[in-house]
Symmetry: D2
Subunit: 311 residues, 4 copies
């Protein structure tokens, strides 16, 4: 299907359920997609950071896209991450995910290599030239170690190289520069500005964002959809209350013992433990070399769910 | 062939010559390998950072390993980078490069994802379990954004997970900790400690390094081999003079205009321009999205070569 | 005077006008304070980053506090930065600024030295024990290279060590954690949570901030006071419009040529050029070793002012 | 006295002994100076990072310089740190320490403020213009968060703004660029290039450094003087053995429990514990807000001393 321009609403980065031996658990993935669709989401983003794209082999990535597109293709737009170090490698992923049916691709600036704004611009222009579907820029400085400059994003939007921005930088002021810059140019009316922050979706919507890509929406799609609708209705007080409820739930990402694991093991482990506890996925395993949550840590996740009425 | 334990001497990270349309230039690669072998090097490291591994597609990577192994296999050990974000993806590269004949693999800590020492340790242990050939740890904080702690390297050496270290951290004090730690344990007598710094090979050898993996050795293999032999002979005064000559040559990495390109475009562009000027490779192109050197910048590279008698 | 608990509204970090030979320009400082008071601000923060505290000698710092307190003391609360590397040095500044009449002090975590959360906690507890007036924590990772963790701020709030937070981290999600954490504890009803971001004051107010400390309020105090009042009235549409007007004005911080100067020279130079163009201060000089704006850059500042009707 | 040009040999950054109530312990400081002079050092550097300059009040700093200059002035050159954020504040310290008798001053680039190479150059030129004694540049990126570029150092050396470099960057390759650059210019024959790394003094001397400023020389001045003399004699094998002995001793900096304290508390705490155990200073206290070593950690320090025959 053609991705709406702009794409709006809640577009969860879909977790990738794994079997105990770390293969893609297709039935669980299908159930997760159903859970999200039933929750009212507006699109699906597979192979993002929350999807453990960095951990999935090319074969697993293909399986994920085929499964999700096969299950919901045509009903909802399916965006796919094309996460790799540089242009030639990203283009290979673009080919793979579009062959599997993705409606749009999402790509970061080059990483691992040391780069430059001029090279980032070339990167996105080459991706646009090589992609049969729209390309969204993914700003994720925690992983890429470079922040996409707002003026570069607007320049790439203006020349049609990028169709939208998924901003996971945590820098709402810079995000606002893109939002207001895009709105000021009628030629950019189809450009999508999406926040990747779970905790300030109401703030992002209030200043003009088109939608959100919150990892936590795996666990509570209904909550994020409700939040999005309250924001669209301008009901800011109730939006804030819903956002604060989701913030309380989000605190689950800190359950992991920091002497034993990193923030990825803890956060993705918590999301998957929650999906397992809620009965959506069969196994809470995260990909290697992440460290699994302990039983006590998993119990903590359950308490977070119970506290907001999800268990 | 079996990689010597320890691997010693000069093991250049082999540049990957490209055609004007950015495909692997196999005849140039063969000529480059001949140039390095004729220079007296002790091994070859393909698919490292200097090889633009981050820019090569999986198909191109395979072609590089097959070409080099096919041309020199058995004469010299061929190490291959398995550069990717996390364990499952790295293991796919391990399978690919060893199927193509690599004698050892070189892998960094996980990157893109946020990680933890315990996860880095798991990563290397899983790589060791899954690799049919020895695994060397690659410490490259400029790309990976994490420094491999010396005590972790020694721990992984002690349990046999890593067979050596390629240290491109620039932190000679931490490197020394590994060198002296490895030497203090007779069980580690086969562990290879290699420096990736072009500029302090003499210093690294003086404190006990087994060898060097200098990108600049593509341009002047004879110089680095001479340096290595002077160090082994304990002729420190002449070693220092040779090292300083190579330092002067290395300054070519700064020819690129920093308002127009990043350090990778400049440094790899300079190495390839030098190889082109020296008649070793047919085309100085670097991979996308790197920015090519201008004509004036290329002329500067020629002056660096001429100044040390290489043109 | 006693600082209100919580302190609310607009509390500009007051620029420090300098003479051409880089001494404190007392008459200009008095005029600037009058300009801010006339604009309706709710308090004054001297010796913050926008005040060039890092550049002022101890004698100049004292002169600033004495001048401002002498001119408005008792009408408005005057907060003073106590900006230095570690506890003993900060305590000397606390003594100096409170002797000169400051009503509260604002202090960062230790910097220059490498530190630890336990040491940051000790730091604030020792400051609280040694200060005759309330201490506000100043979160400024761009300068201090450490982010104050939200849970540490709340812990220090709970034990009475800090009376408020000035958050210039740019991380609105972490800021929200402090805001909602403080609101959840009735014992913290007097704790002030202030944002230092010029560009998302409306967002911060919407999620519960008590007020703002915007450097740009030197240039347009009326605009920020209007924004604050609109937020308090829940008139979010007009608040957003006012905020966007101020965002457009804020873009002046980028006038400086980045090949010639750093971001501090550019931003503080722009604020002072604007104050000079608006007739508030006699000379736009910034402190050494900052680089002055060129004539063309100063003209650009004038255009930003004109565009929002301030010139 | 006039500082030799170049200054050579071992110039320890002198620890600042404190009383239990964190005042300068003058008798212990005098004993420490005697211990260093008896060890054969070539100069003294007070108010550096190892001296806890970042923690000492202006009064304490003055006391330190007066004490040390009063005790050894004229026998040995006394360098003093002028550690503060920007030019005007550093110049105040320059005035204070030279009034107290310092023979040279040592200053970093600006910190806390965000800066630029052009501003760093202005900073050192203004310091040179305002200082009655030579100024050495102090490269300490761990504290200043900027690395002094080698070409900038050489430019400032060439125009006479800086008389030497104390390099604590840990980047030996960049250090070498300064060393060889200075040696290549006969006008710079008096420029001092000193390493601040405890662990690679032999390497630095071998490539042409003039001397070292090792914090650990407080604990074992005799060892570092012996190392320096072996290097000067070209006896590299014995130099390496001595350096390795000192590396083993240096490991004491890691005794502190990282869940309880930062690296400064641990390293400075270990040096002071060692000086206390060796009977040189009366009390091992470090300045606030550093966390003291536990009894068990102090015992560990004793074991490090015993292992190299210092207890």
């Amino acid at each position: 299907m053609t991705v709406p321009a702009p794409l709006t609403g809640v577009v969860p980065p879909v977790c990738t359920p794994l079997t105990p031996d770390r293969e893609v658990d297709v039935p669980s993935l299908v159930r997760l997609v159903d859970h999200l669709v039933a929750g009212g989401v507006d699109g699906l983003f597979v192979l993002g950071s929350t999807s453990e794209a960095a951990y999935l082999t090319d074969g697993q990535r293909r399986r994920v896209v085929e499964t999700v597109v096969g299950h919901v293709g045509g009903q909802l737009p399916v965006l796919a991450g094309a996460i790799d170090m540089t242009t030639p490698r990203v283009l290979d992923h673009v080919r793979a995910v579009t062959a599997a049916g993705a409606d749009a691709v999402v790509a970061t600036a080059p990483f691992y290599t040391r780069t430059h704004p001029a090279e980032i611009a070339r990167h996105y222009r080459l991706l646009a030239a090589g992609s049969p579907v729209p390309v969204l820029a993914y700003d994720l400085p925690a992983s890429v170690h470079v922040k996409l400059p707002a003026d570069l994003v607007l320049e790439l939007a203006a020349d049609g190289s990028v169709a939208g921005l998924k901003d996971s930088s945590g820098d709402l002021a810079a995000f606002r520069t893109v939002v207001t810059g895009a709105r000021a140019d009628t030629a950019l009316s189809g450009f999508s500005v999406l926040t990747g922050s779970e905790l300030v979706v109401d703030s992002a919507m209030a200043l003009g964002a088109d939608g959100a890509v919150p990892g936590l929406a795996n666990v509570d799609p209904v909550g994020y959809v409700r939040l999005d609708r309250l924001c669209r209705a301008g009901d800011w007080d109730r939006a804030r209350a819903e956002q604060e409820r989701l913030c309380a739930l989000f605190a689950m990402v800190g359950v992991g013992d920091t002497t034993r694991m990193g923030p990825s093991s803890s956060a993705l482990g918590a999301f998957k433990a929650a999906l397992h506890l809620r009965g959506v996925i069969a196994c809470p395993a995260t990909a290697d070399p992440q460290v699994p949550l302990s039983e006590a840590e998993t119990e903590q996740v359950g308490k977070y769910l119970a506290a907001v009425g999800l268990l």
